[in-house]
Each structure stands twice: as structure tokens, then as C-alpha cells.
């Protein structure tokens, strides 16, 4: 197998971010909230503060590390929810057809018609800001691609011999779907999931940027960017580092997704993705 640069670089970037977030308490120099010292406000990057400090005098390096936790949790968990919903709806719709297929199609169209950020905004406005709300808002709004894909794949797999065979042996529908169909569509779904995770990280940043993320003062890259909006020219480091962190994560996930696609799915069926 040839060396796949995108897979390895992507994987390394993503792993770096995950390690940074997971081991933040050991890697960070200070507490991200309590160790604020207004006398040290807006110190440029240097030996003491690697990434400088923000307007509150907090160490940006430590905040960027801790700030990984929310986007990563939200990215991974919400994408899992999306995948489960999308696969369950899409596969069952493709497998059973009939009125259920119509209902699922209608729902998918509805989800596709409303810009998902507006949908997420509505959910965040209704629930109180917080991690659970973020998971719900982003976990319920991005399953339509997965759903369409699983449905299409199920339709094409359904006709093939081995599914017919399984059915004639008397296997139940759920069993057939899980053992015969799911493994066949797993590749594209993992790819979509990886790419979607990048999307969720961005969506979290956008929501936090609009003040609808988690409660301050716990850091999240999006809210760090938002807080620094007026200091872009006077203290650019406050926004550069969380911005870079977002960029690294999303780039890593995208490269990873492409790499996985090349391995898992050489004859891509991702017409829609």
C-alpha cells in the first residue's frame, strides 16, 4: 500500500488536538478561568506566556488547550448522534419503502431546506446555553446527508443476491440490516462522519461566536475569537491562536476523511456528499 500523505498528516493533526484537549490539565500552565491577572492583560507571546494573554490577563496557551474540549466533545458526540439518526432513518426507509420512505424523505427535505445553522440557532435559543444544548442542537440538524446516502446504498444493496439469500433463510429485518447491509455502507458513512465532525467543530465555533455556545468563562475557541473581535488590530495574538486551532482541527479532519475515502471506498458512491 502506498503512503497516503493526507491520511497521515490529517491523523497527526487531529491526534495532536485530541491529546491537547484530553491532557489539558497536565499540559496547561495555568487554570483557564481563575488565573486571571488584570495586571498582565494583553501581553504579547513570549517566554512566560507562549501564546500571550488576553484582555483579562489569562494565559492564551492554557485557554486554547482547555478550549479544545468543548469543540471536540461537540464534534464527536453530535456527529455520532447524527450518524445513528441518519443511518437508522435512511436504512429503514430504503429497506421498507412505502409510506415510511415518504415520511423520511419529507423530513430529509425539510432538514435540507432550512439552513442548519438557523435551525441550530433556534434550538439553542429555546434551550439554555450549555454543553447538552449544543449536543442536541448540532446532533439533530446534520443527519440528512447520511440519511440520503444510507437510503440510496440500502436500495442498491437490497437487490443483491446475498440479501435475498439471507431473507430466504428467514433472518429478521433488523438482523439483515445490521449484518448484511450496514457493513456494505460503513465506508462512506465513516467518511461523511469524519467530514461532518469538522463541520460540527465549525458550527460550534459559529454558535459560540454568536454568544450561544457554552456559558462563559469556560473557554471554547469560538467564544475566544468572539471576545477578541475588537482587538484584532491592537492585540492580534488573542484571536490568531484559537483561529489556528480551529483551522488545524478542521484541516486534520478533512484530510483524514479524504484519506479514509481513498482506502475504504475506492469506487466512491458519494454523489451527494
Amino acid at each position: 500500500m502506498k503512503f497516503r500523505a493526507n491520511l497521515w498528516i490529517g491523523g497527526a493533526l487531529f491526534a495532536t488536538v485530541v491529546v491537547g484537549g484530553a491532557f489539558a490539565p497536565w499540559l496547561a500552565h495555568t487554570d483557564p478561568v481563575m488565573d486571571a491577572n488584570l495586571m498582565n492583560a494583553e501581553v504579547p507571546p513570549g517566554a512566560e506566556f507562549w501564546f500571550g494573554t488576553d484582555a483579562q490577563g489569562r494565559d492564551i496557551y492554557s485557554r486554547v488547550l482547555y478550549g479544545a474540549r468543548i469543540p471536540l466533545t461537540v464534534g464527536i458526540v453530535s456527529q455520532l448522534i447524527n450518524t445513528v439518526i441518519g443511518v437508522a432513518l435512511g436504512m429503514s426507509a430504503g429497506y421498507f419503502g412505502g409510506w415510511w420512505d415518504d415520511v423520511v424523505n419529507g423530513l430529509t427535505n425539510l432538514m435540507l431546506s432550512i439552513p442548519s445553522l438557523i435551525f441550530a440557532l433556534a434550538i439553542m435559543a429555546i434551550l439554555q446555553p450549555g454543553l447538552t444544548s449544543l449536543l442536541i442542537a448540532l446532533g439533530l440538524t446534520n443527519w440528512s446527508y447520511t440519511c440520503r446516502l444510507s437510503r440510496a446504498a440500502t436500495l442498491s444493496v437490497k437487490q443483491q443476491g446475498y440479501v435475498e439469500a439471507a431473507r430466504s433463510f428467514g433472518s429478521g429485518s433488523t438482523r439483515i440490516m445490521l449484518t448484511q447491509i450496514l457493513p456494505n455502507i460503513a465506508g462512506p458513512i465513516i467518511v461523511i462522519g469524519t467530514l461532518g465532525m469538522g463541520g460540527a467543530v465549525l458550527a460550534e465555533a459559529a454558535l459560540s461566536f454568536l454568544g450561544l455556545g457554552i456559558r462563559p468563562p469556560f473557554p471554547s475557541w469560538g467564544s475566544m475569537l468572539s471576545d477578541a473581535r475588537d482587538q484584532i488590530t491592537t492585540a492580534p495574538w488573542i484571536s490568531i491562536f484559537p483561529g489556528l486551532a480551529i483551522f488545524m482541527t478542521v484541516l486534520g479532519l478533512n484530510l483524514l476523511g479524504d484519506g479514509l475515502r481513498d482506502i475504504l471506498d475506492p469506487h466512491s458512491q458519494l454523489r451527494q456528499a
Binding site: 486571571a36 488584570l38 484582555a55 473581535r229 488590530t233
Partner: protein, 530 residues
């Protein structure tokens, strides 16, 4: 060295001021103003909205009975030449201007004022100006539908109007804002009036591109001879501070209101520094505490909070000295400001002791409702969190949208909030917010109740002697300090940056972004001087 620097700056400043005073105002050119707050203009109808944004254009298009004299800090007659007041202080007789022309050339008479005020009381419309007009006798009957006309408004002749109020007070505080501006009685009923509004102001309406700009041109027959100076006026709503900053540095706009970050940046820039206008505005930034949250019902806890937060540090480092430390409620520019009061000292030890006395030796936790505002919102709360933690108080931030904050507070749906409230210009009106009879929804947000304060406010209201009244209010203000219903954070220092070619700006302490455009002029160095 430093002394020398200060001296040179002072001399330069003095020379600059002298220079600008000496120069004759120049006619012509375009004033490119900005409306610097969140939303764009609400409406073309100044009666409909009380947002500052709309008042900013209202000052160009319309006129009210009174206007605000920014230099002397008091309301003065505008559409009337003189006023006489009856012995009981309730009936005011106005001799109206006979030279005020609407933008279609028709002369304003007493009928227009009566019509405008009556319109404001229309029960089906709920205009915000009704809050002022209902102080006229009989106005409430119109709102309740039992009368068609306001009985307290009497036309003596075309240019004489008698207004009877329900209680004593300076009518100038009631009839000066754009929400009570005078509309042309007949023309305003035309269905097309909304799209082509006319008024008595120094500038005529040209166009409104909602969300982008409002354009005006000089009203040649404005009643002040020789004014306005500029040919044209463009006002752009620009709520985003960073965008305004670029446009200002790019010389596309003539004024900008500065936040703390930009205040520092502009002071550090040799060119921008020359065009900074600072005013101690009548806004008090504070954290209100709800006595229904048990710890806050104890005065010692509230005092402990005032001691535990290092307000001076926050003001100097985070607010960048774009504020004055608050002592009690009434601000620096208030006539009843108490110079003798010293602000709460930063003293965590004392705070701990007070908390222990109140029965909270290990502190307590509360939820703090805050909007994202950089000067009186979440950033300030974030700065206090470590300070309060040191005395054992845990803070949970509850973020809310800026536009929803007021409603939440008025409903009492909070444990603590941080807000910026007007605390002037009239000290009596503002102190009434702490009278136990004032309900929470009408500005007694912390449901403050103290018999001594009630007595003092009532006494002040009954006094006609202004100096004496202010002395009484000072006493009430001192009790507020002691009782600490809020954390007294700061009084706003409003900062307006203007291009060197824009002259005639007024230091308006009620709201610096509100300027009378007829006094503004642009010199020939403006890119829009033609």
C-alpha cells in the same frame, strides 16, 4: 519630562480650541454621521420608536417643544419663545415660535402640537412618547377611550398654547425627546407620510435605505438664521465597533463612538488623538442584586460584594479608564453628585468578615445574568469571577441577549444582573427609582425599600428650591451607598471620535451620540466638503 509633555499637550489643546472658536462656521459640504448602536433605524416615524438609533436621526428631521442644552446641562425652550407658569406650578403657557416652518413650507401652529400629543396617546398604537404626554391633565382619558381630546391642552390662539400638568415639575424634562416631536397635523395623516416624512428640523428627508443609510438635505427655511451649515447629512447605522473603526480611519465617516479598546488605540495615535471628545455621561454601570435570593437580602453581603471586587483595577485595565469610579448612584455630571462620598474600598478581608457576620463564612453561589456588552456585560463579570472566588463567592454566568436583558430584569427573573442605567439628567426622577412605591417594572429593579429614603425623596419632590432639593437628594444618595442595593461599578465616560474637519460638536451628557446637526459644520479639508 512628563510634566513638559503634559504642558505642551495643554498648550496645543488650548491653541486648538482657540483656533476652532475663532473660525467662522463654513457653509456647505456633507456631514457623514453614524448611528453606533445595535439595530438599524426602526422606523421613519419618530413617534414609533424610542431607541437611541432613531433619536439620532430624529434630531435632524424633527423638533420638539424643548431641546437639550448640552453646555449648561438643562432643557431649554425650542419651539416656543417664552413660557410662564401659574402660581401652583401646574399650568404652563407657551408663546410659540411663529417662524417655524414644516418642510413643505407650512407654518407650525398650536394645532400641530395638540394633534401630535393627542396622536401619542392613541390607545391602539402605544407610542413610547405616551410615557411623557400622560403627565398632561386628561391625557390618560384619551388613552382609556373616555375622551377624544386631551383636556389639559388648550389653544389660546395660533401661537399660544396652555399645557396643564398633573403634578409639579419642569416640563422641559417631558417634552424634549424625538419621541414627542411635533408632526404636521394634516400632512402626517396622509398614507404616504411614512415614506416621505416631514418635520420642523434643520434637515429635510431625502431617502432611507433601511439597514444602510438615511439621507437628508438642508432645510433652507429653518427658523435659526444661517443654520444649518451643511448641505447634506448622511447617517449610517453601524453597530459593529470594528467596522466603524475601519470606516473612520478610512475617512468614510466623520464620527464614531469608541469602546475601551479603541479608546486606547486612538489615544496612542498622534493623528486620531486630536479628534476625541469625552463626556461624563449620566449612566451608572452596576450589578443589581435581587433580595429574593436569600444572601442578597442581607445588607452586609451586598457590602461585602462591593468590597470584594477591585473596581479600580477593572476600570483601569479592562475598561481602559473609559469610565469614572462610581461612589453611589448619582453620577459625576449630576447636579446632586456627592463629592464627599468615597467609593467602597477594595478590601477582601473586610468582605470576608462581613460575609461571616452575615452567616456565610464559606461564601455562597449565585447566578449572574449578563449580556455580551464589553463595558457592562460578560467581560466584566469574567474579571470579577476570580476576585469573588477569593472571598468564597461562586458565580455562575447566565448569558442573555442584550435586547432581552431589560425585560428579564423588569420581570424580576434574576439573582443578579449587570446593566448600565441612566442616572440623570434630573436627579429627582432618577432617585424615585429607589422609592418603595415604585414597582420593579418601573425602574426599581432591586425592589429597594427604605423608609428614610422614601421620606427624603418625597421631601425633595415637594421642594421648589433647586439647591435645597439637591441637598436632600444627596442625603438619600448617601443612604443608597450604605445600603448598597447594587455593586456601584462606574459612571460611563462617553468617547466620540471625530474627524478634524467636523466642528461644532456638543458635549451631550445624556447621550453623546445625540447631536444637534444645525450646529455642526465641515471645513474645506473634508473629503465631502463640496
Amino acid at each position: 519630562m512628563l510634566k513638559k509633555l503634559i504642558f505642551t499637550t495643554a498648550v496645543t489643546l488650548a491653541a486648538f480650541t482657540l483656533h476652532s472658536q475663532a473660525q467662522e462656521p463654513r457653509r456647505g459640504g456633507t456631514i457623514r454621521f453614524t448611528a453606533p448602536y445595535a439595530t438599524s433605524f426602526v422606523s421613519n416615524d419618530s413617534h414609533v420608536s424610542n431607541s437611541v438609533q432613531d433619536e439620532i436621526y430624529g434630531y435632524a428631521l424633527h423638533r420638539s417643544l424643548y431641546k437639550w442644552d448640552s453646555v449648561n446641562n438643562k432643557p431649554v425652550l425650542e419651539l416656543a419663545k417664552s413660557v410662564s407658569t401659574s402660581a401652583d406650578g401646574l399650568v404652563h403657557t407657551f408663546k410659540l415660535r411663529d417662524d417655524a416652518l414644516f418642510h413643505n413650507g407650512r407654518k407650525m401652529t398650536a394645532d400641530d402640537i395638540i394633534w401630535s400629543y393627542t396622536r401619542l396617546m392613541d390607545a391602539s398604537k402605544n407610542y413610547p412618547g405616551a410615557a411623557f404626554i400622560r403627565r398632561i391633565k386628561g391625557a390618560l382619558d384619551v388613552q382609556n377611550g373616555t375622551a377624544k381630546e386631551i383636556s389639559g391642552l388648550k389653544k389660546i390662539d395660533d401661537f399660544t398654547l396652555e399645557i396643564s400638568l398633573i403634578e409639579k415639575g419642569e416640563p422641559g424634562f417631558l417634552f424634549r425627546t424625538a419621541t414627542t416631536s411635533i408632526f404636521p397635523a394634516k400632512e402626517a395623516q396622509d398614507p404616504n407620510f411614512f415614506n416621505k416624512p416631514i418635520g420642523l428640523g434643520p434637515f429635510k428627508f431625502v431617502e432611507h435605505i433601511p439597514g444602510s443609510r438615511m439621507v437628508f438635505e438642508r432645510w433652507e427655511k429653518f427658523y435659526v438664521a444661517g443654520k444649518p451649515y451643511a448641505d447634506k447629512l448622511v447617517i449610517s447605522p453601524m453597530g459593529e465597533a470594528a467596522a466603524r473603526d475601519v470606516a473612520f480611519r478610512n475617512k468614510e465617516i466623520d464620527v464614531s463612538i469608541l469602546g475601551p479598546t479603541q479608546y486606547v488605540a486612538y489615544q496612542a495615535d498622534a493623528n486620531l488623538k486630536k479628534g476625541i471628545l469625552e463626556v461624563a455621561e449620566v449612566f451608572t454601570r452596576n450589578m443589581g442584586m435581587n433580595p429574593t435570593h436569600k444572601p442578597f437580602s442581607d445588607k452586609r453581603v451586598r457590602q461585602a460584594i462591593n468590597h470584594a471586587i477591585d473596581s479600580d483595577l477593572i476600570i483601569s485595565r479592562l475598561v481602559r479608564n473609559k469610565a469614572y469610579r462610581a461612589t453611589s448612584w448619582l453620577p459625576l455630571s449630576s447636579p446632586a453628585y456627592d463629592k464627599a462620598l468615597k467609593p467602597y474600598a477594595f478590601d477582601p478581608e473586610r468582605a470576608k468578615k462581613l460575609l461571616a457576620e452575615a452567616g456565610y463564612p464559606d461564601g455562597f453561589e449565585f447566578e449572574w445574568t449578563a449580556s455580551p456588552n464589553e463595558s457592562w456585560g460578560i467581560p466584566i463579570v469574567e474579571a470579577t469571577i476570580p476576585m469573588l472566588a477569593k472571598v468564597g463567592i461562586k458565580v455562575k454566568v447566565k448569558p442573555v441577549e442584550g435586547s432581552a436583558l431589560g425585560g428579564i430584569i423588569a420581570k424580576g427573573d434574576f439573582q443578579a444582573y449587570i446593566w448600565s442605567n441612566t442616572s440623570g439628567p434630573d436627579p429627582l426622577t432618577q432617585m424615585k427609582c429607589f422609592h418603595s412605591k415604585t414597582p420593579r417594572s418601573s425602574c426599581n429593579y432591586t425592589t429597594f425599600s427604605h423608609p428614610e429614603v422614601d421620606k427624603l425623596i418625597d421631601e425633595a419632590g415637594a421642594t421648589d428650591d433647586l439647591a435645597k432639593r439637591n441637598e436632600i437628594l444627596k442625603k438619600a444618595n448617601a443612604i443608597l451607598y450604605e445600603e448598597a442595593p447594587v455593586w456601584f461599578f462606574n459612571y460611563n465616560k462617553a468617547v466620540l471620535a471625530h474627524q478634524p474637519w467636523l466642528r461644532g460638536l456638543q458635549p451631550n451628557a445624556t447621550e453623546l451620540a445625540l447631536q444637534y446637526y444645525e450646529d455642526l459644520w465641515v471645513d474645506e479639508t473634508s473629503p465631502a466638503a463640496k
